[in-house]
């Protein structure tokens, strides 16, 4: 009989204290954790392809550098063509930014390469016209012109800055914290100068060169959406599935 009493009492206390509502767990979105991977070229997939350009080739527009004698002197023999639309002899488009837009594991951290990406200002022009860089990776800005330049990227997701760089001055190192596809960079002294920086959270991106081709290596197996971005012709997307150690060709094309 006593046993019943004790059991009942225990049950009672149990009910009374469990009746309180469980505390609401504080939810914080998952910050990327775990070790930083670098692209595994050995058994990752490699993506290659080219960006074709069909239709009429737009006329090359010359840049008028008369306002700035120093720049004009640098190009007195061959006047400079604007690089907003550069169609390669083999009918492909140069300066197209190709990157893996989605499909990578969400909170995966990628190793940030130590070597900075160089963006040179020579002949009153950005060389190269377009670069890709990982978020947190250094961009090395050089001024190999005799005249003063000011580098004025205009991101909308990253903090904006505008630094002047004296001729022959020591290079400046800048990084971009958030992923932003194509930050325009201009120089207020030379309004025609324009370049684009693509800041990406992962290392799988490339810029088409003189032959209009791009290669992305070390892609872990999976299905991805590959996006190409061009200054004037906008973006094109394709979904592609790759297995381990697979060589896949993905071609894009823009109409003039």
């Amino acid at each position: 009989m006593k046993l019943y009493a004790v059991a009942a009492f225990a049950l009672l206390t149990l009910i009374s204290c469990s009746s309180d509502k469980p505390p609401a767990a504080a939810t914080t979105e998952l910050a990327p954790t775990g070790p930083a991977l670098s692209p595994d070229e050995a058994n990752g997939a490699t993506l290659t392809g080219k960006v074709a350009f069909t239709g009429a080739k737009p006329p090359l527009s010359m840049i008028d550098m008369s306002a700035n004698p120093a720049c004009e002197r640098a190009h007195k023999d061959a006047p400079l063509a604007a690089e907003d639309i550069v169609v390669n002899p083999n009918g492909t488009l140069k300066y197209v930014f190709v990157w893996v837009k989605s499909g990578l594991p969400a909170n995966q951290r990628w190793a940030i390469p130590a070597t900075p990406v160089v963006l040179d200002q020579s002949g009153c022009q950005y060389k190269p016209h377009m670069i890709g860089v990982m978020t947190g990776q250094n961009v090395e800005l050089r001024n190999s012109d005799p005249t003063n330049h000011n580098i004025h990227p205009q991101p909308s997701l990253n903090p904006e800055w505008n630094d002047s760089q004296a001729p022959g001055g020591d290079p400046k190192f800048k990084t971009f914290a958030r992923q932003e596809i194509m930050i325009p960079v201009k120089c207020n002294v030379h309004p025609w100068m324009r370049s684009f920086i693509g800041a990406v959270n992962h290392p799988f991106f490339a810029v088409t060169g003189d032959d209009g081709t791009f290669t992305i290596v070390g892609l872990p197996p999976g299905t991805y959406v590959i996006q190409t971005w061009h200054e004037k012709f906008g973006t094109v997307e394709q979904t592609v599935t790759v297995g381990a150690k697979e060589h896949k060709a993905v071609d894009f094309s823009y109409k003039g």
Partner: protein
């Protein structure tokens, strides 16, 4: 014999009813006890629940916090600091220990031992000296002195005190030495703790643990704020316990009980410390009542100051911020005020602090009149006393006094003249400051297509979405009569016909000159531009081309000046009578007949963009192409029917059109609406719910909020079911306000109450800023410019300004303008932004910008208000005194010029230099303007880091780098600079400011 019958009275017993009623009484007492302690004190259960929830929250929070703290402490920097601290402590430990040992073991006991006898002897001596001083006889004095000396000798008092003193000094020295030893260790500890504190978001574990201990002895009592002199007792925190807790509590974190959440706006509490302000002055409700939630929130029937509803919470601000049009942290209230001002409520409903111009005009004219009377009184008295002075009968003495008196009177009269002058200028500028909500209807004949008028009056919103014009529920005959009156009362003069312009160039100009900051084009989702002014998508169907050209060229141009004294528009005839040319503008604004101030401008806030004639024609012809095609307008022959005119006049006067529009003959119409300055505390019986009273009472909206919300939603709602003739029906037109707009206006009205706090609570700080905001709101400066952080101008949001290049072609941000420009220059610039009387078709400072800084022809008063506004906003000292700059020596001049023009310095690449070819492509103002436009201190700060002062500016940072304690030019400097010791930025600033 039958047994004797018992007497019922004697033998009946009342014990049962007595017992029952005694029990009932007991129960009633118990019930009253329960009622007293619990049911009318609900806050007790609130507080016990709060203690439970809060302690659970703190446990969980501290767990999260300590985990964060642990991995922060694991970070290398922290460990380095910590080890340095331990290391320095280890070094100083032995010495410190020795000192401690010496003090505690030797010095302290010795001092203690000596102290005791020393005190005793000293007190005996003191007693003796007292007797000595107070004794009368000389012999007693000497005897006592002898005793003292003998005592001192016996106990060797002098030696004793000396030794004691030396011991104490020794102890002090040792302690000081100890502090010196510990100093490095203490510094390191401070740095380590600050490292931790900087990286720990929210309350540190220390505060959390402090809170948890305070919770252990959490006593359930009434928590109240009692401000004695204002007789304010607020007990809100007896239930809203989490309101001012250092840790932010949310509804979720407190187990779903919103009552314990912390105050959503902590920095507001910093500004209005509840200890001084309490809660009810802002929130309403009955601070004293704690018997029930309904009573505490003042929701019971007879409480006059109920708690403001959630959407009207900012009504509380209006009471103390009544004179402001913009109050920080009160967006809804600001929107309500803006609607009240911009949509024209002020035109019909007087509101004290809103009625700035009209009030000031009446007060100025009234002051002028009283000054005249005063002056004439004094001059008459002077004349009389002069006559008396010259009278031979008055003595010389009196004459001299009278003469002094006369001079005194004349002096005072002259002082009055000074006052009259200021009032005159004030009244001149006031005439220019008064604006009307709607366009002038005197020009209807010249500017409109006749058939359009009735279609527009029928339903303005249907013709032009987002228009300010409300719909007046007019019947067709009324529309016809009003249109006829307007048409016939308008001025007959029509502007000279204009040649056609090029619509393509007009479109490009319209989109880049900045018209879209106020106006908008496109309808529905395609609508682009501001809603400060009208949507021009169908202007083509309405406007007359020639008038449109004149209007775009100079919107302030009138067809005829208006004389307030004669209350009519002057005609050419009035001028010819005084053989004056029919010329009236800002310089010729005197009335030929009586010299009073004329209204020579259209009373519209629309500025003149100083466009050239051809460009005005282009824009006008482009706008004429904007119309819906195939829209049939029934023709309106009745417009010229004189019979309808008088009928139309009565209707116009009845509906109060003249309050918003300037109508010939009705310029001085009184306001037809009730004054709303104290509407929030008008007794509820005075708000006429008409036939809906009973329903309102039953449904619980028989309150101020119920009345305002429904009246704004449908102004004729309180006419429902009433038998009324057309004339008697409620006149207030329907403004088609959206729900948030209604909430904001009713917040504004709910806040317009009689003061419940003494006047010293009212906000008088920042009067310049408050006045400035009025002018900024009136002319919509925020359409083009950014005025306070977080606010983006309208142009910034237009799609054509989103790409990289055009972002630099936006109008400059005005954040920090007060610190940038010299106020004297600003006065000149605002008066004439072209900065020249000849070259007006340009921007004075930034000619390279397509978007045009217009001329608002501000009055002197408004310009001064703006100058003081910008200075106060940048918290600059007023009046402005330019900091003196020491002139450049010859060598410094050459040095500066070399650097300035060197290839390495990009200055002349962007800034205008005066050479037209270069200036065509320049993107920054010319240096010639700098000396009298800018402030030197600002220029120096700007040179060092422009991005700090105006983020996203085209001017690059990093031109100078720090070297030692001075700034040096970052790029290669001409050789002569090697020997120049001083700061390069200073040099360049002084170079810029040397007057050419």
């Amino acid at each position: 014999m039958t047994p004797p019958v018992k007497d019922p009275v004697i033998h009946s017993s009342l014990s049962r009813p007595l017992a029952v009623s005694a029990l009932l009484l007991l129960l009633a007492l118990a019930w009253s006890l329960y009622d007293e302690t619990y049911s009318i004190r609900p806050w007790k259960s609130y507080q016990s629940r709060f203690a439970k929830l809060y302690s659970r929250f703190l446990d969980q929070a501290s767990a999260g916090q300590s985990e964060l703290e642990r991995n922060l402490k694991a970070s290398p920097d922290y460990r380095a600091l910590d080890s340095a601290l331990q290391q320095s402590e280890r070094e100083s430990l032995p010495a410190v220990a020795a000192i401690d040992r010496q003090i505690n073991q030797q010095l302290a006991p010795q001092i203690l031992a000596l102290n005791e006898p020393f005190q005793e002897v000293r007190s005996r001596i003191a007693a003796l000296t007292y007797q000595l001083e107070t004794s009368r006889s000389e012999s007693a004095k000497t005897d006592l002195r002898r005793q003292i000396d003998q005592l001192k000798a016996e106990t060797r008092f002098a030696a004793l005190s000396a030794q004691l003193q030396s011991l104490k000094d020794e102890k002090a020295r040792l302690l000081q030495q100890r502090v010196e030893l510990m100093r490095p260790a203490d510094a390191l500890r401070a740095r380590r703790d600050r490292y931790l504190a900087d990286r720990l978001p929210g309350a540190s574990t220390a505060t959390i643990s402090a809170l948890r201990t305070s919770l252990t002895n959490f006593d359930i009592r009434i928590r109240q704020i009692h401000v004695k002199d204002v007789d304010l007792v607020d007990r809100c925190e007896s239930c809203h316990l989490g309101a001012r807790e250092p840790v932010t509590l949310t509804k979720a974190s407190m187990g779903g009980e919103a009552v314990f959440a912390s105050h959503p706006n902590p920095e507001l509490l910093k500004l209005h410390d509840p200890e001084k302000f309490g809660c009810t002055p802002c929130h309403g409700g009955n601070g004293v009542a704690v018997a029930s939630v309904e009573k505490a929130h003042g929701a019971n029937k007879f409480w006059l100051w109920p708690l403001h509803a959630k959407e009207n919470i900012q009504a509380g601000c209006q009471q103390c911020h009544a004179r402001e049009i913009l109050t920080e942290m009160a967006p809804t209230l600001n929107q309500g005020r803006e609607i009240y001002r911009a949509r024209g409520c002020i035109a019909c409903h007087r509101y004290e602090s809103f009625d700035r111009e009209a009030d000031e005009i009446s007060s100025v004219t009234q002051q002028l009149r009283s000054i005249d009377q005063q002056k004439s009184a004094w001059t008459r008295e002077a004349a009389l006393s002069e006559a008396q002075a010259n009278d031979p009968r008055t003595s010389d003495e009196d004459a001299r006094k009278l003469l002094a008196h006369i001079n005194d009177l004349k002096l005072r009269a002259s002082l009055l003249d000074a006052q009259v002058d200021t009032l005159d200028t004030r009244s001149r500028s006031l005439v220019r400051e008064v604006k009307k909500t709607g366009p002038s209807l005197k020009e209807v004949r010249a500017k409109l297509r006749p058939e359009w008028l009735p279609v527009w009056l029928k339903d303005p919103r249907q013709w032009r979405e987002g228009t300010k014009m409300p719909s007046f529920r007019l019947a067709d005959p009324e529309i016809r009569a009003i249109s006829a009156f307007l048409w016939q009362s308008a001025l007959a003069a029509s502007p000279p016909p204009q040649a056609a312009g090029d619509p393509a160039r007009g479109r490009e100009a319209f989109e880049t000159r900045g018209c879209l900051a106020c106006h908008s084009l496109g309808e529905g989702s395609a609508r682009q531009g501001g809603n400060f002014a009208a949507n021009l998508s169908r202007i083509g169907e309405k406007a007359d081309y020639s008038y449109l050209v004149r209007w775009i060229h100079n919107p302030r141009q009138r067809s005829a000046p208006y004389c307030a004294f004669e209350k009519r528009d002057l005609t050419a005839e009035d001028y010819r009578r005084h053989n004056l040319p029919f010329l009236f503008d800002l310089d010729h604004s005197r009335c030929p007949n009586d010299g009073h101030e004329l209204q020579v401008q259209q009373m519209t806030p629309m500025p003149s963009l100083r466009l050239s004639e051809p460009e005005a024609r282009d824009i006008a012809s482009y706008l004429m192409t904007r119309k819906h095609d195939n829209v049939a307008y029934p023709d309106a022959p009745y417009l010229t029917d004189p019979a309808l005119k008088s009928q139309g006049l009565a209707l116009v006067r009845n509906y109060g059109c003249a309050n918003c529009h300037e109508i010939a003959g009705l310029e001085e119409e009184p306001r037809i609406g009730t004054e709303l300055t104290r509407e929030g505390s008008k007794p509820i019986d005075r708000l006429d719910f008409a036939l809906l009273t009973a329903q309102a009472n039953a449904e619980g909206w028989l309150t101020h909020k119920g009345f305002f919300d429904r009246k704004l939603q449908n102004p004729a709602i309180f006419d429902t079911g009433k038998e009324k003739s057309a004339q008697e029906r409620l006149k207030m037109p329907d403004f088609h306000l959206s729900k948030p707009e209604i909430d904001s206006v009713s917040t504004f009205l709910l806040g317009s109450v009689d003061a419940t706090v003494p006047p010293r609570y009212f906000n008088t700080r920042g009067q310049d800023i408050a006045d400035g905001w009025w002018v900024v709101a009136k002319y919509n400066c925020m359409g083009c410019h950014q005025l306070h952080p977080g606010q983006s101008s309208l142009l910034q949001l237009l799609p054509q300004y989103q790409d990289a290049d055009s972002r630099d072609r936006l109008p400059p941000t005005l954040i920090g303008e007060g610190a940038r420009v010299n106020p004297a220059w600003l006065l000149r610039f605002l008066a004439n932004p072209a900065l020249s009387d000849t070259l007006t078709d340009r921007n004075g400072v930034r000619p390279y910008l397509r978007v045009r800084m217009p001329s608002f022809s501000l009055s002197a008063g408004e310009v001064q208000k703006l100058a003081r506004f910008f200075a106060a906003l940048a918290s600059q000292a007023q009046p402005f005194v330019a900091a003196p700059l020491d002139p450049l020596t010859a060598s410094e001049l050459t040095l500066a010029r070399q650097l300035f023009a060197s290839e390495a310095a990009p200055c002349l690449k962007c800034h205008m230099t005066g050479d037209p070819k270069h200036d065509a492509r320049a993107t920054a103002p010319s240096f010639a303007l700098a000396p009298d436009r800018l402030q030197p201190a600002w220029v120096r700060r700007w040179l060092l880091d422009p991005a700090l002062l105006a983020p996203g500016t085209a001017m690059p940072s990093g031109l100078f780098r720090r070297e030692g304690d001075r700034f040096v030019f970052a790029g290669p400097t001409p050789p002569a600079f090697a020997s120049y010791p001083k700061d390069h930025a200073d040099l360049l600033t002084r170079f810029i400011f040397k007057t050419r």
